[in-house]
């Protein structure tokens, strides 16, 4: 197991380096002078020269990359062009709301996704299956931003029960996390259903039925438990995608999180923030994928020795 873990961690180092290189080259790929871009639109020639020197843009490009890595490891991405405060602080402020949002969305989506998936699998080919799978395919097709607007229309404007946006209280979490979780719940439902159907064809399930175990016990204890292994993998992968989905949902609900920061920084061309955010998001996805793989290896010894 330790061997496998070490192999995987060593394996992600080149991936991280490639992503860091892309993020580093990003400012160089843009048309125009990177120093001028980083210095911002109102910079004087002297400012631009200062930026050029402080970023080391006057040095050869491979030295620049090493310098970029060195700064990145220390968490130094420079200052935001828009607010002038250090990028790390800016991101630190936005981290907690996004974590709250994604964790809440994940929690409800997993519970409902599992329930719908199991119900559909057990009543396969009958109306609960059709209803469940209709919800699932709609959930995948539903534009999250439209759902958000519909919810605001009903619960904030018409009924006045929930705030339209921002993050002030637990109430603020309800609509955004529901909106964000819908797509995931849909994927979970479809995935649980197929995993469940697959397991329910196994011999040991037939044996359980044959020896007279209650149907309910077979469903929850024998089938679901085994079906959960691939489902857990799916939860991990979906976590990464929730972070992506949060970009849109945070815009709808004016959520003070990382997703909206990214959108704002792209619109404002706030390059230091974009660089730091893309690197951060990438690291998150890589770590999530790694965690998923490791969990999977824990559950399934075959993978470890491949």
């Amino acid at each position: 197991m330790l061997n496998y873990l070490i192999r995987r961690i060593v394996g992600i180092v080149p991936v991280i380096l490639v992503i860091a290189l892309l993020v580093f080259l990003f400012v160089h790929m843009l048309p125009g002078d990177p120093a001028r871009l980083v210095a911002g639109p109102e910079a004087t020639l002297q400012d631009i020269e200062n930026v050029r020197r402080s970023l080391g843009l006057d040095r050869p490009i491979h030295e620049q990359f090493v310098l970029f890595l060195w700064h990145a490891v220390q968490g130094d991405f420079g200052n935001s062009l828009k607010t002038r405060i250090p990028v790390v602080e800016e991101i630190g402020l936005r981290l907690t709301p996004t974590i709250w949002l994604t964790v809440c969305a994940m929690a409800w989506a997993t519970v409902f996704g599992l329930l719908i998936g199991v119900a559909s699998a057990v009543k396969r080919g009958r109306w609960p299956d059709y209803v469940g799978m209709f919800i699932a395919v709609s959930g995948i097709s539903f534009p999250a931003f439209w759902l958000g607007l519909l919810l605001i229309d009903l619960f904030s404007v018409r009924l006045g029960w929930l705030p339209t946006g921002g993050f002030e209280s637990a109430k603020s979490l309800i609509m955004p996390s529901f909106t964000l979780g819908l797509g995931v719940a849909a994927v979970m439902a479809r995935f649980t259903r197929s995993a469940f159907i697959e397991i329910s064809r196994e011999d040991y399930i037939r044996t359980a039925h044959a020896k007279g175990v209650y149907a309910r016990a077979v469903i929850w204890k024998h089938t679901l438990r085994n079906a959960l292994i691939p489902v857990i993998t799916m939860v991990g992968l979906q976590f990464g995608f929730l972070l992506g989905g949060s970009i849109v949902v945070e815009t709808v609900f004016s959520w003070p999180g990382l997703g909206r920061l990214l959108v704002d920084s792209v619109a404002y061309r706030d390059y230091p923030v974009i660089q730091a955010e893309i690197l951060l998001f990438s690291l998150e996805f890589i770590l999530i994928n790694l965690t998923v793989d490791v969990l999977y290896a824990v559950a399934n010894p075959e993978i470890r020795f491949k």
Binding site: V15, V18, I19, F26, M29, L30, V137, S138, I140, S141, F142, P143, A144, F145, W146, L149, L150, I152, D153, V157, R158, R193, S194, I197, E198, G240, F241, L243, G244, G245, I247, V248, T251, L262, V263, V266, A267, I274, I278, F281, S282, F285, I286, N289
Partner: protein, 292 residues
């Protein structure tokens, strides 16, 4: 397919007919296909179908609710929402088809090369695909837009990027399975060139699954493109793009909800139809996949 029809004796049905027979039984997929055809036609013939000019302002009729004159009401400039949705269909469908075609062609090429030549080329292409696949599409798209700048043209490339690994992986799988098939070996034995082997003998075998994914990816791409426009990185406001229309109408929620309701419905129905059609095609092409 004419070859198949010639070979088909009364007892043996051609794969195409077999496929059609299975698809015909999937009413949901057929309804979706019909709906999409209607959408494509209305987008193509938008100048004749749309009742009004999509950009013509009518300040006497601002935020008018749906009526006989304006079936979906008017927006904050008095523009007819139905006409804008019909014209917007052009944008959404074009973005969907173009981006998936670009991503599909690149991905199919990479997949064929990866599966056919194997070794380091395969590792390189597949590792890169894995990295791309690990990211949610919208984040990749935003990364591309951060470089190219906002705008609907750039959205096409941005959205195309995340179709590439999907097709690459799919086609690689089929290529691996087919490259040692007896008929491919036979073709190789009579001296058919590698490029021709890939395109003429292996690619057709991979096409069924490519078609299924194409349908589903178009839906996803339309959704992503609309989301990008909604957050202000895609089509810009005067354009009748569906996502941009939603962004435009946000301020009138509660006052004139129809401004956002109909464009949202248009996105939902279109994406749903592509996904349902994809499901139906998959089931009809390969009954074994039904529960997967």
């Amino acid at each position: 397919m004419s070859d198949a029809a010639v070979i088909a004796s009364p007892g043996v049905r051609s794969p195409l007919r077999e496929f059609w027979n299975r698809l015909r039984r999937r009413k949901v997929a057929l309804v979706s296909a019909a709906l999409l055809l209607l959408l494509v036609l209305s987008a193509v013939f938008a100048p004749w179908v749309a009742p009004y000019d999509p950009t013509a302002a009518d300040y006497a009729n601002i935020l008018a609710p749906p009526s006989a004159a304006h079936w979906a009401g008017t927006d904050a400039f008095g523009r007819d929402i139905l006409s804008r949705i019909i014209w917007g269909g052009r944008i959404s469908l074009a973005v969907g088809f173009l981006s998936v075609s670009i991503g599909g062609i690149v991905g199919i090429g990479l997949g064929l090369i990866s599966g056919f030549y194997g070794r380091w080329l395969d590792s390189l292409i597949m590792r890169s695909s894995d990295v791309l696949l690990a990211f949610p599409g919208i984040l990749l798209a935003i990364g591309v837009i951060a470089i190219l700048g906002p705008g609907i043209d750039n959205v096409i490339y941005a959205v195309a990027v995340f179709s590439v690994p999907v097709f690459a992986r799919l086609v690689r799988g089929s290529t691996l399975a087919l490259k040692s098939a007896p008929y491919v070996d036979a073709a190789r034995a009579i001296g058919v060139k590698s490029r021709w082997l890939m395109l003429r003998h292996i690619l057709p075998g991979a096409l069924p699954s490519v078609i299924v994914y194409f349908s589903m990816r178009v839906g996803t791409s339309i959704l992503t493109a609309a989301a990008l426009s909604f957050i202000g990185l895609g089509a810009q406001p005067p354009s009748p793009e569906w996502g941009a229309m939603l962004a435009d109408g946000r301020s009138f929620i509660g006052v004139a909800s129809h401004v956002t309701f109909y464009p949202g419905m248009a996105i939902f129905v279109t994406v749903l139809a592509f996904n349902l059609l994809g499901d139906g095609l998959r089931d009809a092409l390969d009954p074994k996949l039904k529960n997967v």
